[in-house]
């Protein structure tokens, strides 16, 4: 059997709070760093919308929230039992 049950003794990487927190901080730094860069760097702009500082980040964030909220609604509509078609 290649699969055994959970054991308690071993600590894995993300179980260490310091490592997990460090990863999160690094991530946030990069995220807001790219937003910050927008203030200082003259981006090449093709479309007027792009002139807005942080346009891409804002649109990305909004998209994801809309996506998830809409998907929750969709689930109410289309979700059935796992064996719905196996009658």
């Amino acid at each position: 059997m290649s699969v055994t049950n959970k054991e308690s003794e071993k600590k894995y990487l993300l179980d260490r709070p310091r490592f997990a927190r460090g990863l999160l901080v690094l991530f946030l730094l990069v995220a807001f760093g790219t937003l910050g860069l927008d203030l200082f760097i003259e981006r090449h702009v093709e479309h007027p919308f792009e002139r807005l500082v942080g346009f891409y980040g804002i649109w990305g964030f909004v998209s994801c929230v809309v996506l998830v909220l809409a998907a929750r609604k969709l689930r109410n509509l289309v979700m059935r039992d796992e064996d719905h078609y196996d009658d």
Partner: protein, 592 residues
């Protein structure tokens, strides 16, 4: 600016290919059409008496194929005459060659991935199916294309049936039926075209008469156009681990190739493609089977390619085909990593997985490479191809489509980039601990695919030198890198925030209804209802007719039966009186 008409084949540049290994000097008489090498390998494999010989054939066939295709290059060869029919087996330009090369790579990766598989059916399909795909991309006429189009369906369905689960026979049959219908549409279109133009030649078609629409629809089914897409999400997740890796590489990419050849610049494709990038991501977010999430994600990626083909400028078309090239690499890698999860744990549902990084760290990292590639992170494969299509959309003034693509890009990152690795390897700890090592072939194939994703992403020069249309493009500008990183990181923050506040839909055991409901539930129900109605009408007509006949028989019996009025014996005297009266009546009638 846009190129909306003209022969696309003529526009494909004939600049020398930038291959690192030019074997055209070989050009030896041993050259064969690329598909034939794979078919020969597949047949030999069936005849091979021992397991190690089959393994050898599996490994050697793509290698011979690679040498063959590298020494073939562009040109028209092997126009075979069979009876009245002429089949053009090898018409190659840079467009078909690009797909030919990547198909060899994909076949090789898949063979390595499946080295532990001893099932003859899967082994046969892992050579025959790529063979059919190669036959299709080098087909010079519609009839040859049709033959390989149907062979694609017949050889690949084996990979679904080879799962031998309760669901695989039904899923395979639905997959086969839809794909065969696609072939029949292609054949009908081809025959009408032949009667109109006198030729089966396969080149630029463009949307016009009935024939072109039939062929367009045929390509559309194989390309998973909206509402015609469920054979992908229904069939692929029911295949074996090796099967899904193979399936994700070939059929839909052949369709993308065929669209790029026949319908570049057809504006309707822009809108179809936009829809394809858009709707599957909602399903992907709520889907529990992680390989089905990837199947939805695949439709989304093909959507980008379809948009590119619809825009039809050199930049857009190059973006479309190079995105197909890259999708084969990163979708293959993601399917491989999920196949490993299924192979090692027997589970593939998000609700049953989690915490696997603890015992499968290398698989986790390789899956993340695939996730970064499909999300188009800078330095990973998707970045260097998707950005071309997005840029082309702005350049041509398709603002709405551009916004949809950005939305879809964030969505891809959400469901494929984060969801797949997160629910399989992190999330809540399912308690599953994998003790056995991952089979060496599976691991090696994932490493090679991940290497390819990083290589293409970080130095796209080789890919760009193989592209069919002239290209002046720089992927790594500061603007591209910053904007793309912004989208991705802010999407990740959105994911984290939605998780924290509990808005993110949890993974639940479920089936989600989609367009396939029409033929999996509504269709059968309609047929049952109709047959019920027919039975009812049938019964009513039968009893009605029987009752009428009975009534008539009774009447006749009354009149002419033994006791009937007409059967009574009449006395001679009264009969004579009656005859006389009738005679008088007749004479009177005549005289008057």
């Amino acid at each position: 600016m846009t190129i909306r008409t003209g022969d696309i084949s003529a526009m494909v540049t004939d600049m020398p290919l930038g291959l690192p290994l030019d074997l055209s000097v070989i050009g030896a008489p041993w050259n064969l059409p690329p598909s034939m090498i794979f078919f020969a390998g597949a047949i030999l494999l069936l005849l091979a008496p021992r397991g190690w010989i089959r393994t050898l054939i599996l490994l050697v066939t793509p290698a011979i194929g690679a040498i063959n295709i590298l020494s073939l290059g562009a040109g028209d060869m092997w126009d075979v005459q069979i009876g009245n029919l002429e089949l053009a087996l090898y018409h190659a330009d840079r467009l078909s060659l690009l797909f030919g090369y990547i198909f060899h790579v994909a076949a090789f990766f898949a063979v390595i991935y499946g080295l532990h598989v001893k099932d003859k059916v899967q082994q046969f399909a892992s050579l025959a199916y790529p063979g059919a795909a190669l036959g299709a991309v080098f087909a010079g006429d519609l009839l040859t294309l049709f033959i390989f189009w149907e062979l694609l369906a017949l050889t690949s369905v084996l990979l679904i049936w080879a799962r031998r689960s309760d669901r695989s026979p039904g899923a395979g049959m639905r997959y086969l039926a839809i794909n065969v219908v696609s072939g029949l549409l292609l054949l009908s279109g081809a025959l009408i075209m032949k009667s109109q133009t006198g030729s089966f030649e396969f080149g630029f078609i463009g949307l016009g008469g009935l024939a072109s629409w039939l062929i367009f629809l045929s390509f559309g089914i194989k390309c998973a156009f909206p509402l015609l897409h469920n054979w992908v999400t229904d069939g692929y997740p029911e295949a074996t681990p090796l099967g899904t890796v193979l399936l994700s590489a070939f059929t839909t990419k052949v369709a993308v190739y065929a669209l790029a050849r026949a319908y570049p610049g057809a504006e309707i494709l822009i809108w179809i493609g936009a829809l394809m990038t858009f709707f599957p991501i909602f399903f992907a977010v709520i889907e529990n089977d992680l390989r089905r999430v990837l199947a939805y994600s695949m439709i989304n990626q093909i959507g980008f390619m379809v948009i590119g083909i619809g825009i039809g400028t050199n930049l857009a078309l190059n973006g479309a085909v190079s995105h197909a090239f890259n999708d084969i690499l990163f979708k293959g890698l993601l399917m491989m990593s999920m196949g490993v999860v299924l192979h090692m744990t027997g589970k593939i549902k998000g609700s049953e997985l989690g915490g696997l990084y603890k015992t499968m760290p290398v698989t986790t990292i390789l899956c993340i490479v695939g996730a970064a590639s499909i999300s188009a992170f800078p330095l990973f494969a998707g970045f260097v191809s998707k950005s071309m299509i997005v840029l082309a959309a702005i350049e041509e003034g398709y603002t709405f489509v551009w916004m949809v693509m950005l939305f879809a890009s964030a969505g891809v990152f959400h469901h494929a980039g984060i969801k797949i690795p997160y629910f399989a390897f992190f999330a809540h700890d399912s308690g599953i601990r994998v003790r056995k090592p991952v089979p060496a072939g599976m691991m090696l194939a994932m490493i090679m695919a991940a290497g390819a994703c990083i290589y293409v992403g970080s130095s796209p020069g080789l890919l760009y030198s193989l592209l069919p249309w002239e290209l002046h493009y720089e992927a790594y500008t500061l603007t591209h890198v910053i904007t793309q990183t912004q989208i991705l990181f802010l999407s990740a923050i959105a994911f984290g925030w939605l998780m924290m506040v509990g808005l993110y839909p949890p993974e639940l055991k479920s089936t989600n209804l989609d367009a396939d409901w029409v033929y999996r539930a509504a269709g059968p129900r309609l047929v049952r209802w109709l047959s019920g109605q027919i039975g009812y009408v049938n019964e009513a007509v039968r009893t009605g007719t029987r009752d009428q006949l009975n009534a008539m028989m009774e009447f006749l019996n009354e009149q002419a039966g033994p006791q009937g009025v007409l059967s009574r014996a009449w006395p001679v005297g009264s009969s004579a009186v009656w005859v006389l009266l009738m005679l008088v009546a007749v004479i009177a009638f005549i005289l008057i």
